[in-house]
């Protein structure tokens, strides 16, 4: 212990407190780079782990599969039937499927669902589902086999539905099931399926079973009977992931059957750093933007209900399609057999992980520091701003702190009003409401700073400090819930923490104009509205080469598509509870950005701030002197341990004299 305290004394004794504070911004900036740098380290050899099956009960690939030979004749017939249903209305389709599975011995039912925002703004459809009561089970547990009519890419899932139905038929011949099998054919992969899952857990349904232990979603679009590879989709809403064991099971079974399997669409070898890094970054982007506006792949709606689910997607690459639909069916059968083997709910393996390839992953302990570093960098910058914002007039500090906090609260309240307004807005005039909010949020900082009037620099620093500490708090918390979102948000705000310069003396002309230019650029780049539009332009509606010129890139945006993009995002928040976009956008991003805008537009009383700085410096100096003296005294004390009692009395006298200097 004494060794540590001596070391501390040695180190800190030489550094003065002021220089420690002055390195904080550098530390904060370095943390951002370190956080990003860590992401590039993760795919390096030795930084990740190979996946393994943690739950021994799963026994992946150990079960013999018998869905073959004549079963394919039946499957082909079902494909013909499903193809005929392509142009039929949803409720008619449901009736046909209901009859089929009823005849197989399932307890079938049609689930009509509606989501409504206002009376005229309704999403509705008909799901059809059936429960095969396990021959020897007692209806306490169940598992899901699901095939949506329309898959995540908007294609008609002919193969998936036919496979699910013929597998369901085949399953009735087994008596090994310990869990009920629920076959669900929802109208789509998001709203219909979500509503089904919600209703299954909250209301009475005419056919019901017990707790769902796991599930697979079959995605085999189009009329092909062959496919190129399997893609495992696993990211749920709000960044929730299924247990890694389930993914491992599917991947291992694919390997047993010599099927090609990929995650996040990266096909290259996992021996290459680039491929691993690519999978990692695609995984991060999928996790962060899951449920943003896209339909999803079908595994997402289960994520909030402690139901582990994955989507098995057959990818058709016209160049080579070596695998047959029967192999896909066998894969599904084998995965379900493994889930059926479970004695307990999935719990053994990881729930927080990033995949680098189907066989490699990084666990939370390794990757979390990246987002934590980013989050903490805001906290540190916030602390720095707080410590350098000492008030000149004694006693004013508290009042100023409270007043700046009040201003920050106003910003938060304004942002929540934005959120309430946008949630309430009818879909027909979402674009208008957005436009109004854009205008309001653009003028709000100007008006607020005018109203607040001329304030010392310390006041502005306190406001910035609050907003950065708020960002730090939110991001570090968020990083444990949705790592990728926290990471991306952390990067998105970073110019606000480091590239924002407050207006100085007018005398330093050139430097100050550069600084104000950088500041305004930073606020424009980090403006939530601008980022939203940029995301839309780059990802949702990518520009054609001739649209890449400046005015055209903005003018060629199709307003209709933008509107449907915005409406879809709001629907995802209202109906499916995807909080990773709308609430985060308004409750985290908006207040941080607004307070930064207020900070740079605010008029600063130069004189006071200068004097404030001056007094602060003096005060600090005094404190440092005292500190140094006390430290010196302590050192001496340690040295003089060998001396006898006389010295002890002397040093106590010294302390008294040191106290005097403080006074």
């Amino acid at each position: 212990m004494s060794l540590i305290s001596r070391l501390q004394r040695r180190l800190l004794g030489k550094l003065d407190k002021r220089s420690l504070i002055s390195v904080l911004p550098v530390v904060s900036l370095l943390m951002i780079f370190a956080g990003i740098g860590l992401l590039f380290v993760l795919p390096m050899d030795g930084q990740f782990r190979r996946t393994y099956i943690s739950e021994n009960a799963l026994l992946p690939g150990q079960a013999h599969t018998y869905f073959k030979d004549s079963e394919e004749n039946i499957l082909r017939a079902f494909r013909e039937e499903v193809r005929m249903l392509k142009d039929v209305s949803e409720s008619e389709r449901a009736v046909v499927i209901e009859k089929w599975i009823n005849d197989m011995g399932y307890k079938a039912a049609i689930h009509n669902w509606t989501f409504s925002h206002y009376d005229d703004d309704v999403k509705s459809g008909s799901n059809v589902y059936g429960v095969l009561h396990a021959p020897r089970g007692d209806t306490t547990e169940s598992m899901i086999i699901c095939a949506p009519w329309i898959n995540g890419d908007g294609d008609f899932n002919e193969g998936g539905v036919a496979l699910a139905v013929s597998l369901a038929r085949y399953f009735t011949r087994w008596s090994v099931w310990s869990k009920d099998i629920i076959l669900v054919i929802p109208s789509d992969t998001s709203y219909g399926l979500s509503k089904w899952v919600d209703d299954y857990h909250y209301t009475s349904m005419s056919a019901s079973s017990g707790a769902i232990q796991g599930g697979i979603v079959l995605d085999f679009p189009g009329v092909h009977e062959h496919f190129s590879r399997i893609e495992v989709k696993y990211t749920g809403y709000n960044g929730q992931l299924p247990n890694l064991d389930l993914i491992n099971t599917a991947v291992l079974i694919c390997a047993h059957m010599s099927l090609n399997v990929v995650v996040h669409g990266v096909t290259g070898s996992d021996h290459d750093y680039e491929n691993r890094a690519m999978t990692l970054f695609k995984g991060i982007s999928d996790q962060a933007f899951s449920g943003l506006y896209k339909q999803g792949y079908g595994n997402e709606p289960f994520s909030g209900w402690r139901v582990d689910a994955i989507t098995l997607k057959a990818v058709m690459d016209p160049q080579s399609m070596p695998f047959t639909q029967i192999e896909f069916a066998k894969l599904a059968e084998s995965v379900l057999r493994s889930i059926n083997n479970l004695l307990e709910h999935f719990h053994q393996s990881f729930f927080f992980y990033l995949m680098l390839s189907p066989w490699q992953f990084v666990s939370i302990g390794t990757y979390l520091p990246a987002a934590m570093l980013l989050g903490a960098s805001y906290t540190i910058k916030g602390i720095y701003l707080w410590m350098t914002s000492t008030q000149a007039v004694a006693g004013q500090s508290m009042i100023e702190a409270a007043s700046a906090f009040g201003l920050f609260l106003v910003v938060i309240v304004a942002s929540s009003v934005f959120l309430a307004v946008i949630s309430w807005a009818p879909s027909t005039n979402v674009l208008t409401v957005y436009a109004i909010l854009v205008v309001v949020s653009a003028f709000m900082p100007l008006i607020v700073s005018k109203l607040v009037g001329v304030k010392p620099k310390s006041y502005v620093n306190k406001l910035r400090s609050y907003s950065l500490i708020y960002a730090g708090l939110v991001l570090t918390t968020l990083s444990t819930l949705n790592f990728s979102l926290a990471l991306i948000l952390g990067l998105a705000f970073s110019p606000l923490a480091h590239l924002l310069f407050l207006p100085h003396d007018q005398s330093r002309g050139f430097k100050s104009s550069i600084e104000s230019l950088v500041s305004s650029l930073a606020t424009i780049v980090t403006c939530p509205w601008v980022c939203l539009l940029a995301y839309f332009r780059i990802v949702v509606q990518p520009p054609t080469p001739e649209q890449l010129v400046f005015p055209r890139i903005v003018t060629s945006i199709s307003i209709g598509e933008l509107e449907s993009f915005l409406i879809e995002m709001l629907w995802k928040w209202r109906a499916l509870g995807v909080w990773s976009f709308v609430p985060i956008f308004f409750m985290v991003w908006m207040p941080v950005w607004l307070s930064a805008c207020i900070a740079i537009t605010m008029q600063i009383s130069e004189k006071e701030s200068a004097s404030a700085n001056g007094t602060a410096k003096e005060k600090e100096k005094i404190e440092e002197n005292v500190g140094k003296k006390v430290e010196k005294k302590a050192e001496k004390k340690a040295e003089k341990k060998a001396e006898k009692k006389k010295q002890v009395t002397r040093s106590s006298m010294r302390t008294r004299s040191a106290d005097k200097t403080v006074i």
């Binding site: 212990m1 857990h201 009475s204 707790a211």
Partner: protein
């Protein structure tokens, strides 16, 4: 000669003690078959139950348990599977012999006071646990419900009820069940009871009831055993003929809908189910009935009641679409709706069923009430239970009692209990309060579970939704079972339909529920132990150091060194000292 006399004596003796065994076979829709085995016998009469010393065919082991535990009635149920009321109608015997998933036991126990009766109840369940190879010894105070008490002259009677929903019923429970039978599965209809077939069923329920049947001057012990099982005929046949695994059929054997336009040698749309089916009892149960159980006798009362049909062993309940052909045995009645047969000694019996239309089955009485119970809500803190009770009768309201036991780690809020009636528009349901009576005994942590009993009245053609919320509790680490992440089973609720004159006309169970409690990561305790041990070790080290070590100033040591010299010098000194001493001693010796 002696042996023959003995056997004759025995037979004579047994004629007084009726032992009957019956099998009812009832095909159900979708190629299911309900087989109900029932066995009943009684001991000799004696003035009081304690005086019964001659058990005859009555199993002595059970008799002794009844005697030592002072129970007047014991009921045991082993069940598994799910009764599909929408297809199969009401439960056999109006649910009198059906139990909830797992094991259920209830008994009337005599005792001077509750404490004595309770002690006897725990003795009873422990004894039964050994006898039936079931974990009934885990029925402790938290799993026991005192349902009612009946005072009598010299002692009181207490009705205890316990259930183990997570117990899986298996052949180890069937074997002791068979051992209690006089023919022990070697002859008679019990020879059909094969664990592989019984437990490959869609639903099965084993019931054992022991009662002390006393009238004014005599008492006898009566035992009735029953197995009801719903078998999947097609699966059993496939198992018998091919293999237990669903090997794909040959293309020629597929039954295809040839009217489909795309029908070809590669595409086959399957027909719903085989419209015709042919099977033998021996194909379904694995073997024919070996012979009549020689110990069976027809009681006098039954003989007078049934007249010509007395002594039947097997009855079938079929329609005109079915035809029967028998091998061995005698025909007692041959109506299409109910054909009955008796067995002969030393003669195999087999029965062939040939059906032209499997959807034609003898009329099914629909269940008088339907119930569906489920958990609602998400998260690990709160939850809800929802029970939906439907009265299918279009004309008559029904009165039901709904009985639920909740483990103590589920903390229900009775205040949150809501009922919602929905039904035809002609009825004004808003003014009806369906709850007529509530019996509620709250839980006590780690001591007693919640006992909730409701009397409900449900109007005709209406559905009652009963729901309430509960809190989940954190329990001690040691209280988690080894498979904690599976969840905790909540016992099935018991629903009874009560007639006008308070008789139970129908009873049924809900399925059991899985309750997932907040479960720790079980490697956590290990981490905690490691961390605390490290802290303890550090603390101990520091304290020990301070206590044991002597602190001296460096100067003192220097001074001391100068005084005494270094280690080398000191050793040398000592060595020299020794040498000189030795020398001196040598000298002195010399």
């Amino acid at each position: 000669m002696l042996l023959r006399t003995l056997v004759a004596c025995l037979l004579l003796l047994q004629s007084a003690l009726a032992y009957r065994e019956k099998l009812d076979l009832r095909p159900l829709p979708r190629n299911s078959l309900l087989a109900s085995f029932s066995f009943s016998l009684a001991s000799e009469s004696a003035p009081t139950p304690d005086d019964i010393s001659h058990y005859g065919l009555f199993p002595r082991s059970v008799g002794q348990i009844i005697r030592s535990s002072h129970a007047t009635e014991i009921h045991l149920r082993f069940s598994q599977g799910w009764w599909d009321a929408s297809e199969w109608g009401s439960l056999p015997e109006q649910g009198a012999y059906a139990g909830g998933t797992g094991v259920e036991v209830w008994a009337w126990v005599d005792g001077a006071d509750l404490a004595e009766a309770e002690k006897r109840w725990y003795e009873l369940v422990n004894a039964l646990s050994g006898l039936f190879c079931a974990s009934l010894n885990f029925v402790d105070s938290t799993k026991t419900i005192l349902r009612s008490t009946a005072p009598s002259l010299d002692s009181n009677k207490y009705l205890f009820h316990g259930s183990l929903p997570s117990e899986s019923v298996c052949t180890e429970n069937l074997t002791p069940f068979m051992k209690l039978l006089p023919c022990k599965g070697h002859a008679g209809i019990s020879s059909l009871l094969d664990g592989h077939k019984i437990f490959d069923s869609k639903w099965q329920s084993m019931a054992l009831d022991f009662t002390a049947d006393c009238d004014d001057d005599s008492c006898k012990l009566v035992m009735s055993q029953r197995i009801d099982v719903v078998l999947d005929v097609l699966r059993s046949l496939e198992r018998q003929k091919h293999s237990p695994v669903p090997i794909p059929r040959r293309v020629e054997d597929l039954m295809c809908d040839e009217t489909k336009p795309y029908h070809s040698s590669e595409k086959c749309f399957p027909l719903p189910t085989a419209p015709t089916v042919k099977w033998l009892i021996s194909e379904i149960f694995g073997k024919p009935i070996v012979s009549k159980c020689a110990l069976e006798t027809v009681g006098e009362s039954e003989a007078s009641e049934l007249g010509e049909n007395a002594g039947y062993n097997i009855c079938t309940h079929i329609t005109d679409a079915w035809s029967l052909s028998r091998h061995g045995g005698n025909v007692l009645s041959s109506f299409a709706s109910k054909a009955c047969f008796s067995l002969n000694e030393n003669e195999e019996f087999n029965l062939a069923f040939d059906c032209s239309n499997t959807s034609s089955v003898s009329p099914i009485t629909s269940a008088p009430v339907h119930i569906q119970r489920s958990m609602t809500g998400r998260g690990q803190q709160h939850g809800g239970i929802q029970a939906i009770i439907r009265n299918p009768s279009p004309t008559d309201p029904i009165t039901v009692t709904y009985f639920e036991t909740l483990p103590w780690f589920m903390k229900p809020y009775l205040s949150s209990m809501t009922t919602h009636l929905s039904g035809p528009d002609t009825l004004d349901l808003s003014s009806i309060d369906p709850i007529k009576n509530i019996t509620y005994k709250p839980f006590m942590e780690r001591v007693r579970s919640t006992h909730l009993e409701l009397t409900l009245e449900i109007p005709a053609a209406s559905t009652l939704t009963l729901s309430y919320d509960f809190d989940k509790t954190l329990i001690y680490l040691a209280e988690y079972p080894p498979d904690a992440n599976r969840g905790f089973d909540v016992s099935p609720g018991i629903l009874r339909v009560v007639s006008q004159n308070d008789e139970i006309t129908y009873s049924m169970r809900t399925s059991s529920l899985l309750l997932s409690l907040p479960t720790p990561d079980f490697s956590m305790p290990y981490n905690v132990i490691i961390l605390t041990s490290t802290v303890m070790a550090l603390l101990f080290g520091t304290v020990f150091n301070i206590l044991v070590r002597r602190f001296v100033y460096e100067e003192d040591i220097e001074a001391d060194k100068k005084e005494k010299g270094g280690l080398k010098q000191r050793l040398l000194k000592r060595f020299r000292k020794d040498k000189t001493e030795k020398k001196s001693s040598v000298k002195s010796a010399g």
